[in-house]
Assembly symmetry: C2
Homo-oligomer: 297 residues x 2
């Protein structure tokens, strides 16, 4: 039963019988049969199929809701008992938005000191993807904006406020200033994240509000790309203060506060709303709560 519900979750992720089967480590006929068996025992069609996967029926969506709970709890059970036997072990899968990726180290490092046998998988994702994968049990926790889009059935731990800086070099336009306005930033050619990232959407909104047209000269989904371009001294970017500090400023590389408005967004840990938490998640939350005071400006 639980494995069949797991099949359904995989199908929801992949929208493709073959790939879902691969993800579950079974062959496609096995997964097909599993789904069909679910449909038979429940007496309803769960998946709208043509000659390929189309969508879930309303009943299918409902079953998915339960499947998330049940499969999640079954995993939590194993993890819980494992923790009783061997202390905290296993793998924590964390997805973070690109602008938060650099701060993950300040969460994982003290965590690892406390629990040396826990392995990590850190993924770079958009804020949308973070929430979707949290729902699908693909990740254990996310790090994303807490105050922008609706979050869904999750618990949150605030970590730090995201404030914006113009990252540029002395000698470049605005490079000598102690603060700049968004209107001024809008005049500078920028390297920014791609528009599917919420950080970019926030920056776009702030830039557009000034009336000026924003002119991103370079887009990337990787903060490394943006930062390495700025380090050449020939490019500028807008990024969160915390990130700029973490990546390292130099005498010529400056992070200039952007005002009018001095907008702030809260970044935090997001975990599934499950009671009780899995031991790994609980430990991560504890670590986040320890870390938060040190990060809040």
């Amino acid at each position: 039963m639980i494995d069949k519900l797991d099949f359904l979750l995989a199908l929801a992720r992949e929208c493709h019988f073959g790939r879902a089967a691969d993800a579950c480590g079974v062959t496609q006929p096995t997964l097909s049969a599993g789904i069909k068996q679910l449909e038979e025992t429940l007496g309803v069609l769960l998946v709208n199929r043509g000659s390929r996967f189309r969508s879930f029926t309303p009943e299918g969506e409902r079953v998915l809701d339960w499947a998330r709970r049940i499969v999640g709890d079954a995993r939590a059970l194993r993890e819980d008992i494992n923790a009783l036997r061997h202390g905290l072990t296993g793998r924590l899968r964390i997805a973070a938005i690109p602008t938060a990726l650099a701060m993950v180290a300040s969460l994982t490092t003290p965590f690892r000191a406390r629990h040396p046998n826990v392995q990590f998988t850190i993924l770079s994702r958009t804020s949308i993807e973070v929430l979707a994968e949290l729902d699908n049990l693909e990740i254990d926790a996310g790090i994303t904006y807490l105050d922008n889009e609706p979050l869904g059935r999750v618990n949150t731990v605030p970590l730090y406020p995201e404030r914006y800086r113009l990252l540029t070099s002395t000698g470049a336009p605005l490079g000598e200033r102690t603060s700049v306005t968004w209107a001024e930033v809008a005049q500078v050619p920028l390297c920014l994240l791609t528009p599917d990232m919420q950080n970019r959407r926030i920056i776009n909104r702030l830039l557009n509000r000034t009336g000026a047209e924003s002119r991103p000269m370079l887009e990337s989904d990787s903060m490394i790309v943006l930062f390495s371009h700025v380090r050449t001294g020939k490019w500028a970017s807008v990024m969160p203060a915390k990130l700029a500090e973490t990546l390292g400023l130099t005498q010529t590389l400056r992070a200039i506060p952007i005002v009018e408005p001095d907008e702030v967004h809260t970044i935090g840990l997001v975990i599934p709303q499950r009671e009780p938490m899995t031991p790994l998640t609980a430990a991560l939350v504890a670590e986040a709560q320890r870390l938060a005071p040190a990060l809040s400006d």
Copy 2:
């Protein structure tokens, strides 16, 4: 997996491999193998066995906690999908304390008018048993005291206040009074519930507080027995006002308010703390909430 967890729940109820197997509709070796398989996949001993069932290990207790959740959710899933297909069907298992048994009809009757295809099982239980069986998923809901013993992980819906009456006949001692004190009641030979019932413990406490020795001449675990004795005109009892009214008073059979103190306890519906509720439970809660205003004095 889920069936194995169900085996474990049955074992927790019965504390006996053979009876647990019966309860699950399998033979004892099958259940034994199921438990053993659970122990192997989790890698821990769950049950302390001598030559017979002794107890659960701490890990076993933990697994039981999860099993209650997971098995409960799996049932809720089926019920939920069933409700989508055929409307509300199935069986609601309700356990009530004896003094609340008569009022169950005022809950089930309007419920059945709304949902004609739902079947009921109504059980008479002590307040302790109600909570235990709620935990073990043996019943869907309980009706018991909300304000006395610690309730555990449940949600509650208050139904009505329980006030105490001396049930006796005109002509008997105190039979003509419009109110009596607990001290006076203590002097009368009474028919009362057995001491494992919380109602009896409450009455005992109130009687003892007067300093007098209470003298129950007849004990039973059935309100029918108590009431039918009182109806002969030769016996008296203490019972909740609501119950006396429901069973029917006559010109000679009187329910006299007992004061000093005029103690009140709240009776209510108790359901497992599960989010979301099963459709049947949700409907029952809705019915209880509709009913409560009419019952509150």
